[in-house]
């Protein structure tokens, strides 16, 4: 409540003075007037409205919310307020005050009010001020007044020659809530709406993109999640849940060394195809290399399986911090899988801490490079590893990206994308691979 009361202290004081002077001229010799009532005022269309401050929980300025498809006309969407899902309602729509003014969907001022233990967000065009009043200043509504039905109005008050209509939130929303329950038939299938909402929340919380390349698997995992947790209502999404979902979509051994199981499958598909186009030297690009685990795994896997061929690897990432530290990656000896031959390929830097051998490191170019600008790269590669890039690119960007990396590959070159990603591009043919997504450039 403090937040609201402090909203504009200076204005409040001025207002109080003004009201003091105006009302003291009316009401004879009383010097101290006690205010027993405060309203938060706002504007819809050209009219001013107020809500009893005791019903207001919070005011949010410029808050982004998620739209809900197929909802009632006046329900604009839902808002995740520190974990609570709150419906956001457009009063202008609800009261048919639509005077043609379009409200944009992005950023809105929202007043969160509490009605019978239910939190509701209402979108208002412009939040004005907190105004102190006395109950006796409030005049009962005239039946002829205002566009809002008389029973929703608890009164009208005149402040500085401006009429404020005070809304009775209890009657407005408890009525409408009931109406809402009646209008939505119980058996309506809302799964699709829930899914869309869930996707939006995950995207917002984790900063990833769910697009056609990864939506299929995401959907499967979502359905699993819904069944496991017996979700029948609008799903609550916490950062934790969102992260678990994203981690499920990520390929196996993301941000860790590849285990021999993955190496076997990689050899059967990618290396088999690679063997047809090159022998002595392999040019590799690792897009989204992160901390370098994937880079070193891929380097050694290709080097070993191609009978010691020279591997020239370019590893790129847009995260400057991780790509800069990748070349100096120091790991605990216990997490290096045995196929990577710790003694041969790594140097111990003390205390069971290992660093990749300098000779190998020198053959890897770590670059600060944005996948969106991949066309600016003029080199050609035999194999490109770009796992889970769809999570970091928008749908259209990802499609262009796939198209552009096709130009970076030689004919017959190999593309490895995320295990759970699907692409359809005429330039590539899918290879049969056990749980891996391997493509050959046509």
């Amino acid at each position: 409540m403090n937040q609201v009361e402090n909203m504009d202290f200076r204005y409040l004081m001025q207002n109080q003075k003004k009201i003091n002077t105006t009302s003291s001229s009316h009401k004879d010799n009383k010097n101290i007037i006690e205010y027993d009532f405060k309203i938060v005022s706002f504007k819809i269309g050209d009219e001013f409205y107020g809500i009893d401050i005791m019903a207001v929980k919070e005011i949010l300025k410029e808050k982004k919310f998620t739209r809900v498809p197929n909802a009632l006309e006046f329900v604009r969407g839902v808002l995740n307020l520190r974990g609570d899902i709150i419906p956001v309602i457009d009063l202008a729509k609800m009261f048919n005050l639509g005077n043609g003014k379009k409200i944009t969907n992005d950023l809105q001022s929202i007043i969160i009010i509490k009605v019978e233990n239910l939190l509701i967000g209402i979108i208002v065009e412009q939040i004005q001020h907190v105004i102190p009043l006395r109950k006796s200043d409030i005049q009962p509504p005239s039946p002829l007044l205002g566009s809002i039905n008389e029973r929703y109005i608890s009164g009208v008050v005149d402040i500085n020659n401006r009429l404020y209509v005070i809304l009775d939130t209890d009657s407005v929303f408890s009525d409408k809530e009931k109406a809402k329950k009646e209008t939505i038939p119980q058996d309506t299938d809302l799964t699709e709406e829930f899914f869309v909402y869930f996707v939006n929340q995950v995207e917002e919380l984790c900063g990833v993109h769910i697009n056609s390349a990864n939506k299929g698997k995401f959907r499967d995992y979502y359905n699993e999640y819904v069944t496991d947790n017996n979700i029948k209502e609008m799903p609550k999404v916490s950062k934790e849940i969102a992260e678990t979902m994203v981690n499920k979509v990520l390929s196996i051994h993301t941000d860790e060394f590849w285990e021999s199981n993955l190496i076997d499958r990689f050899n059967d598909s990618a290396i088999a195809a690679l063997g047809k186009i090159c022998s002595d030297e392999v040019r590799v690009m690792d897009i989204g290399c992160g901390n370098g685990f994937e880079t070193f795994s891929a380097y050694l896997a290709i080097h070993n399986s191609m009978n010691g061929a020279i591997v020239k690897l370019t590893a790129i990432d847009t995260n400057l911090a991780s790509v800069s530290s990748a070349s100096g990656l120091v790991v605990d000896g216990n997490i290096i899988p045995s196929w990577m031959e710790k003694q041969k390929n790594f140097i111990e830097v003390g205390g069971n801490q290992y660093k990749i051998h300098k000779e190998i490191n020198d053959k890897i170019y770590f670059e600060f490079h944005d996948a969106k600008n991949i066309s600016a790269n003029h080199k050609k590669f035999d194999i490109i590893i770009a796992r889970d890039m769809s999570l970091y690119l928008k749908e259209a960007e990802y499609i262009t990206f796939i198209d552009e990396i096709a130009d970076r590959l030689i004919k017959g070159g190999v593309l490895m994308i995320g295990d759970n990603e699907v692409i359809s591009n005429q330039k590539f043919t899918k290879v049969n691979a056990d749980r891996l997504s391997i493509f050959i450039k046509n």
């Binding site: 400057l320 770590f366 490079h369 066309s375 003029h378």
Partner: protein, 154 residues
């Protein structure tokens, strides 16, 4: 852009500006930009050759350029005369020269072309198929952007 190249340029720009212009230099997060860049008003361009090909652009507004030239000369300069251009080209020389020395120590061989100064309103620069690293720097004299694009020759 190879990560090894980034630090020498950032460090040298910071240290040269700190010693010659103003002690307060704030560095923004390095960005990657596509090939078309808008120039704020004055651009000092130094070409890179040798093991790599590329260029360094030091970009600022005319007002910032005058402020920086004034600070470097220790007197207030109000018109864009020869002294100002000479000072700015020298700044370009120092920053790139310093960076290239640091890169030499790391085993990279770069050569430099003499700096060129470009000035004008609404300037744009395009270099085909190259991604540039942009390092924004904030000084009391104004805002500078160091724009480095390097292409490996191999």
């Amino acid at each position: 852009m190879r990560v090894e190249y980034i630090n020498p340029f950032v460090e040298s720009a910071m240290s040269v500006l700190q010693t010659t212009v103003s002690s307060e230099v704030k560095r923004g997060a390095p960005k990657l930009s596509n090939s078309i860049n808008h120039i704020m008003g004055v651009a000092i361009i130094v070409g890179l050759a040798g093991q790599v090909s590329g260029r360094v652009i030091i970009d600022m507004s005319q007002e910032t350029a005058l402020n920086i030239a004034s600070s470097m000369n220790g007197e207030r300069l109000n018109t864009f005369d020869e002294l100002v251009s000479a000072t700015l080209t020298e700044l370009g020389n120092m920053i790139t020269g310093n960076a290239v020395t640091k890169l030499h120590q790391l085993g990279f061989k770069f050569d430099l072309t003499p700096p060129a100064l470009f000035m004008g309103d609404n300037l744009r620069i395009t270099d085909a198929k190259i991604e540039a690293l942009v390092v924004p720097l904030e000084l009391t004299e104004g805002k500078i952007e160091i724009n480095v694009a390097i292409k490996e020759n191999y």
